[in-house]
Amino acid sequence: MGRRDIRRSGRPLFVALVALLLGSACTGAAPPRAGTSVAIHEHDFRIDASAITVASGAVSFDVHNDAPATHEFVLVRTDDPDDRLPIAADGISVDEDVLTSVGELSDVPAGADETLSLSLAPGRYVYFCNMEGHYMGGMHGVLEVTPDA
């Protein structure tokens, strides 16, 4: 909730810095090897993904924002259904504090392409946009990561 407030108050540079630090924390150990790419298209208000399962290891999410609004791309590991994630006090946003964030692009401007590269362990993952009203508006999806073949 604190992070959201910061972003809403119009300090994108600071948020981007925080996001970068978080991103590095998650991806810093990723080995530089070629992995799977997942194409993500964000709309008002849904997220289309080019795959629903990928092999574990290096996965890069090529996020393209097709909407006029700015969106984010948050990936969490959870066994909850993607439309039953825990909701925060505002009643409409996902409570990220109780979830394990694997990685995120906190600010994908309208029309922009951004890439989130992660090393994913096998398991069930949910991605969503947690901007106000966007998750409940329909911006979420599930990704299964299977063990290496």
Partner: protein
């Protein structure tokens, strides 16, 4: 001129740039203000959306709220943000403000989305409003409303972010352009400054060039006179370059007197900053010549750029030469180059003043040339001028260098013996002058003789300049009367004579003007018949205070002053007129003739013949009825010219007689050259006839013999006794005049005499 044009070229763009900057800044401020309003309105959408959601919920819970007002504002603002227009003011005094529509496509996309979401939000609100918490599906509808509210908030934030970024970018551009313009302005300002500096430098260079090329010398000296700056124009004046002169003393090229003077000027000026003075002095050229210069000296000790005395110096040598020439002309006789009367007088003044102090006796010699007029009239004025120049040279050569020789009038010269003059000194000078004039002058290829009559006056204690000059003048006239070519020292008696003469001189002019002169006539009688043959016209002066004056009282003065010329002309005219009248009045007097005396001066007059001809013409008198009497002395003056004139008179038909014959030193051979008709035997010879002197008749006889030899007639003058008349008649003299017959008489008495007869013989024979 060129500089000011260049200034305009730089000033114009500079002002354009400044105007642009000011205009652009005004535009940028307006732009920023507009952007701020848009951001403000856009940011308000989020608050409005939250308030709408809350108001709808409150309404459904039975609490009074006005979600429709929020809805309207949301809709209106969304529209205004997209297309521009009026919106409710958030702050400030205005009720509404006008904002510009969006032009960034991204902002437009976000605002479109916002508008769409707002529509959905209001739609959701509309569905929820009729419900209450008890209504089935209320929770779902409420959820939808809140989600849509969140989405509106989100997109609204998004739009505000983008609008703000755009505004920031626009502002950055405005600032960049403003800075660019500022830099441009600064460049223009610097350029203008540089140009102004260059213009000033150019002007300074022009001034320097002016100084360097000016003919005036500009010199800066310190108080001691050492040269600290010298303009190059010094070279033509001093013959030394400015570099050579630097550090030297300005006073070095001056003579002692000028140096002391200019040094004093420097010292005086040095005490007063800003003071100025002028000085004229001479400077020595390297070649040794002196140049006259004029300086304006100004104290510029106070001026940090100068710190010295500035001399603006001009070469005035040419001007001085002209002044000297004019001064020379003012003080010198242009013909002879001798000093003129004014200077001579001034020198006499000084000599007289010095004499009183030093017990000296300055002397003045006044010279009047004898015979100059003959040359001037006979050979022309140019010849006369030539003679005067030559005389001037000889006079100057004959004097000592300290003596002043001056030409003070037509043919009058003067010599001042200033110093140490005794009468022996003045006498020596006078004799030397007479000696140098004895050598004939060569004028126009002819030998010309001139002599001088010299009057000498010596100053004694208390003599004034006027007295000294007047005394010399009186002595000079005495010398002339004494026979010319001689000198006379002034003695006081001369002064009285001179005074009397002076008186007569003034009176003569007045007498002529007032017709105070009259003619008396003395009959000239045929000694054989006793009849009146002719008359001699004799002038008398009816003086208003001195009574009737005979010619002896005034003729010599009239000769000297020249008054004889108009007087003689009048006599001639009047005698002719009267005689013609007598001849016309009585046929018995039709042969009457008149004899008129001509003075030496009249004989020398160039227009004598014309004057005679005119008198005859005016009176209508027969030329043969006019006889002109000349003295031997006057005939000897300018013999050649006189002979010519006499022949011309003869050709007119006029008769000529020699007056006072036998008293002068005329030579018979000369007499033969003149066309003389008659000799008048002087009274002194006639007097002898009555004096029982056996030689008396012999002298008269000798004269009569001469007359016969020359084939001329005779008239005996001053016959007072019958015996004299008889002797003369017997000796062969045909005519005579004298008291025996009649005294000179006024014309009316002469008329009566014609009728009564004058023959004493007749009287004697009858009585």
């Amino acid at each position: 001129m060129r500089e000011s044009r260049r200034l305009r070229w730089i000033l114009a763009p500079y002002f354009v740039v400044v105007t642009l900057i000011v205009g652009y800044n005004a535009h940028a401020i307006a732009q920023q203000r507009g952007s701020a309003l848009v951001v403000n309105v856009a940011a308000r959408q989020r608050a409005l959306s939250e308030r709408y959601t809350k108001d709808v919920i409150l309404q459904t819970q039975g609490i009074a709220a006005d979600p429709q007002d929020d809805a309207e504002q949301l809709r209106a603002n969304a529209d205004a943000l997209l297309h521009g227009g009026e919106v409710t003011a958030v702050q400030g005094a205005d009720a509404t403000v006008v904002i510009h529509g969006a032009d960034d496509p991204l902002v437009i996309a976000k605002l479109d989305e916002e508008q769409r979401l707002i529509a959905k939000l209001l739609d959701a609100g509309d569905q929820l409003l009729p419900m209450s918490q008890a209504t089935p599906g209320y929770a779902t509808r409420l959820q939808d409303l809140r989600v849509l509210g969140g989405q509106v908030n989100s997109i609204s934030n998004d739009a505000v972010g983008q609008i703000t970024r755009d505004a920031e970018a626009a502002f950055a551009r405005l600032v960049a352009i403003g800075i660019a313009l500022g830099v441009l302005g600064a460049i223009a300002a610097v350029a203008m400054g540089l140009l102004l500096r260059r213009t000033a430098a150019t002007q300074a260079a022009q001034f320097r060039s002016l100084v360097h090329h000016a003919t005036d010398l500009i010199t800066v000296v310190d108080a001691s006179g050492a040269i600290r700056y010298q303009s190059p124009s010094a070279e033509p004046v001093l013959g030394r370059s400015a570099e050579e002169l630097l550090g030297t003393s300005y006073l070095g090229s001056l003579d002692a007197a000028d140096r002391a003077h200019l040094d004093a000027v420097f010292r005086e000026l040095a005490a007063t900053p800003g003071a100025a003075a002028t000085a004229e002095y001479r400077v020595r050229h390297v070649d040794g010549s002196w140049r006259y210069v004029e300086s304006i000296v100004t104290n510029r000790m106070d001026d940090p750029n100068v710190r010295g005395l500035v001399l603006n110096t001009r070469d005035v040598t040419d001007r001085r030469a002209l002044q000297d020439e004019l001064a020379h002309q003012a003080f010198h006789d242009p013909l002879t180059g001798l000093v003129n009367r004014a200077v001579f007088r001034d020198r006499v003044d000084h000599a007289v003043a010095r004499a009183a102090r030093l017990h000296q006796q300055p002397a003045v010699l006044l010279l009047d040339l004898d015979g100059f007029k003959t040359v001037n009239d006979g050979l022309g004025h140019d010849a006369g001028d030539e003679l005067l120049v030559a005389v001037g040279h000889r006079l100057q050569a004959s004097g000592r260098s300290i003596d002043t020789v001056a030409r003070i009038g037509g043919d009058e010269f003067a010599i001042l013996l200033e110093d140490d003059a005794r009468s022996a000194g003045a006498r020596t000078v006078a004799e030397r002058v007479l000696a140098v004039l004895t050598t004939p002058f060569q004028v126009r290829g002819r030998e010309v003789f001139v002599r001088a009559s010299i009057g000498i006056a010596i100053a004694v204690a208390g003599t004034t300049t006027d007295e000294l000059l007047r005394n010399a003048d009186a002595a000079m006239y005495a010398a002339k009367r004494g026979g010319k070519a001689r000198y006379e020292f002034f003695v006081p008696i001369m002064h009285e004579e001179a005074l009397a003469k002076f008186e007569v001189q003034g009176d003569l002019d007045r007498g002529l003007a007032h017709s105070e002169f009259v003619l008396h006539y003395q009959p000239i009688v045929d000694l054989a018949s006793g009849s009146v043959a002719g008359v001699e016209a004799l002038v008398r002066w009816r003086h208003p205070t001195r009574g009737l004056l005979p010619p002896a009282a005034f003729i010599s003065v009239a000769e000297e002053t020249g008054a004889i010329v108009p007087l003689g002309a009048w006599v001639l005219g009047e005698a002719c007129r009267q005689t013609a009248e007598w001849r016309r009045a009585d046929p018995a007097r039709a042969d009457l003739w008149v004899s008129v005396n001509l003075s030496t001066r009249q004989l020398l007059e160039a227009n004598l013949v014309t004057a005679v001809r005119e008198s005859l013409r005016a009176s209508g008198l027969e030329p043969s009825a006019l006889m002109l009497e000349l003295t031997e002395g006057s005939l000897m003056q300018g013999i050649t010219e006189t002979a010519v004139k006499l022949r011309e008179l003869k050709e007119l038909g006029v008769r000529l007689a020699i007056d006072d014959f036998g008293t002068g030193a005329s030579s018979l051979s000369y007499l033969r050259r003149f066309p003389i008709d008659l000799l008048k035997i002087d009274k002194s010879f006639v007097d002898e006839l009555g004096a029982d002197d056996p030689e008396g008749p012999l002298l008269v006889q000798a004269i009569l013999d001469i007359a016969r030899t020359l084939h001329v007639d005779t008239i005996a003058e001053g016959i007072e006794e019958e015996r004299q008349r008889n002797d003369l008649r017997d000796a062969g003299c045909r005519t005579g005049q004298g008291f025996l017959f009649a005294r000179p008489l006024p014309p009316e008495e002469v008329g009566m005499l014609f009728d009564a007869g004058v023959d004493p013989l007749e009287g004697a024979s009858t009585g």
